[in-house]
Amino acid sequence: MSYEAETAYALVLQFGLLTDPAQRHVAGRRLAELVRKAGYHISTGFLGTPLICDALCEAGYETIAYRLLTQRGCPSWLFPVTMGATTIWERWDALQPDGTPNPGHMLSYNHYAFGAVADWLHRTVVGLAAAEPGYRRLSLSPRPGGNLTSASVRHRTPYGLAALTWQLADGQFSVEATVPANTTAMVTLPGQERFEVGSGTYRWSVPFSARHVTLDTPLGTILDDEVAWNAILQTLTSVIPGFSALDPAVIRNAMKGYDEVPARAVLGQMPGSEYLLPLIEQALMETHQKEENDAADRSY
């Protein structure tokens, strides 16, 4: 790769230009590293934006894709929403964070291109896709992620209306699906074996709890989990004098190259780790408890 950019990796992965599994693995990992380095802000343009979330998911970095999706800082899909947008803009920062228009050229405030993420929302987040060209066979594969608690899609296929809705409440993942007459659907629910159904309207419910990170989780995965990473930073801040004055970029840089190493092994190299690690473990546990309680509260 002569020029390392997220778009370059997304294109190479999604257009199938790399076929060797080992090479694909490295390219996917490098893409994840670039997104982490960019602070989970989108840095693709018209060409990479439709592909990056698919590329991340297929490489096993679903958490990063959802984090990109729910990012509100600039640039991101939701940043314009925080600025009052009801359309997709031609630039991520057509209005800049200070509220002034971008001084550059091409300044449409109604421009489809970045909206291409909607395709990924339909196919992956909600999980309704054609299992083969023409929708004779559907794929229903809802994927809860990020802090999303519900998602819904309706699509008029040549065979009739197909629909999928999911909801996450009280530790239960509930799905409602409509499969058009004269078609079948392959259904994949979280933690379940894939099964096939014929036409009709269905309701399924499976227990679900978000994966939570521990000290045995690879460091990169913890970084991708905003809440867990903040809990670790807070613990370090409360224990190490002057820690809060450190630049996050410096901290991130010190951990470069350790994304696939369990956090315990990385943090264990810090002085006083025998005292620090139990505190961090405790903080991660409390974070997980709080998330479960919040999820239960939301369901009432």
């Binding site: 040549p158 209306l161 007459a181 004269n182 159904v197 036409s199 309207t201």
Partner: protein, 163 residues
Amino acid sequence: MLGLGRYLLCVWQKKRTAFWANGPNSHDEIGIEQMKEQERLPLSSTTDQESLLTVAPVRFEHLADALGLGMAHPRLSWSSETGTQNWHQIAYELKSYTAAGQLREQTGRVESDQSVLVPWPFAWLSSCERVLVRVRVWGTDGQVSPWSVLSQVEAGLLVPAVA
């Protein structure tokens, strides 16, 4: 000029046959009353409408309003609605009518589960020819649907005008 002439002729024929837009109401076995009843049926049925089988109007090359198609043999698609789970089509029957409401051709019962982009089963359309088509289907449960509401297709100017 000849092309324009053909175009105007088409428009005139369209006006002449406009009153057939809802189908041949005084001919064959389908009447306006029956068609209206079919039109009132909900497009999305649910399981509580036990086993009610209907079929939506035929589409031509995916178009509901197929006016001026650039081909003589457009492919046909239709979708069925039923409360029966695991429903599959096992057969269909298509009938075509002239713009004046005369039965043009019929396929008889065809054993097939195909319902999308089915090849045109009738004599090819000629330039500017308008045809009305309807379908009924049989399902795995043995039930047959009522005939669909008539839908129309009209070929465009398919061959260059000859002086």
